[in-house]
Subunit: 174 residues, 2 copies
Amino acid sequence: MELWRLLYPLRTYLVVSGTLEKPNVMTADWVIPLSFQPELVGIGIGKKRYTYELIRKGKEFVIAVPDLKLLKDVWIAGTRSGRNVDKRELLSFTFVKSKKVKVPSIEECLANIECRVVKEVETGDHVLFVGEVVDASFKEEAFREGKANVETIDFLLHVANNEFTSNKKESEFV
Amino acid sequence: MELWRLLYPLRTYLVVSGTLEKPNVMTADWVIPLSFQPELVGIGIGKKRYTYELIRKGKEFVIAVPDLKLLKDVWIAGTRSGRNVDKRELLSFTFVKSKKVKVPSIEECLANIECRVVKEVETGDHVLFVGEVVDASFKEEAFREGKANVETIDFLLHVANNEFTSNKKESEFV
């Protein structure tokens, strides 16, 4: 067994790169907050990915947060490379202008976190892009009172390969 | 709203440091796989944490994977500092010898991932410790056939503050 699988199930996100005119999007489970002040997040991207090339060039990315309803598109984004095909033709996503970065946001997603690369870290066969969060947009009903609304939203969790699940609708408090 | 919260809910883990004779454990949501080959994982640790001191000194850590049943202990581990108190006195965990590292594992957890630090990355108010996975132990029923068993196990998800949830018991396939 590959031992990193012991950290699964993990949340699944979409990483957008490129421009509004020529966007690209891939699926990514390897996403992490990294600092409160400044607000930093990290994404681990395989060095052979087209997204790697685009982020190295543009120095910006958007993390879009899909819910379970978008699973089919998440799967397509994660299994087809934008190097040879314009993924917009395969996806039902609407790419829209972001607030602060050239990379577009995805209208259908629960949230879009706009980031500028401040550091690149080599980690084996991946690179961790550390991004400063410069702005974000989100659906109020998914993040009420500053926190994820698990009572109504099906956030997406990746189990393995083509298997996904979601969160329970109940919270446990301590 | 703090924008990194848009990545939540996130899985919650335990980070063990120190030694079998003097272990310490903290709760951490900021945990990420970083490479397939070599197998690398990362943990983001606040610079003021006691765990930060211990990992800098010992260059090893264990990521222990709790389930929902261990929530009370997870909460204590995340809200009390081991600098002033021996957390073993507060926790119901059994610390046991790991296979390859001096840092102990936690018997009650679903998995224990043993790591040696290969890189330290400054990221704002946190440090990302990049660890090579040198060994692991896990409960067969939680990771059947090399993947997380969401049908029977309640993996732990952190929503915000003292609010947690878990995964659904059904999978969606694409």
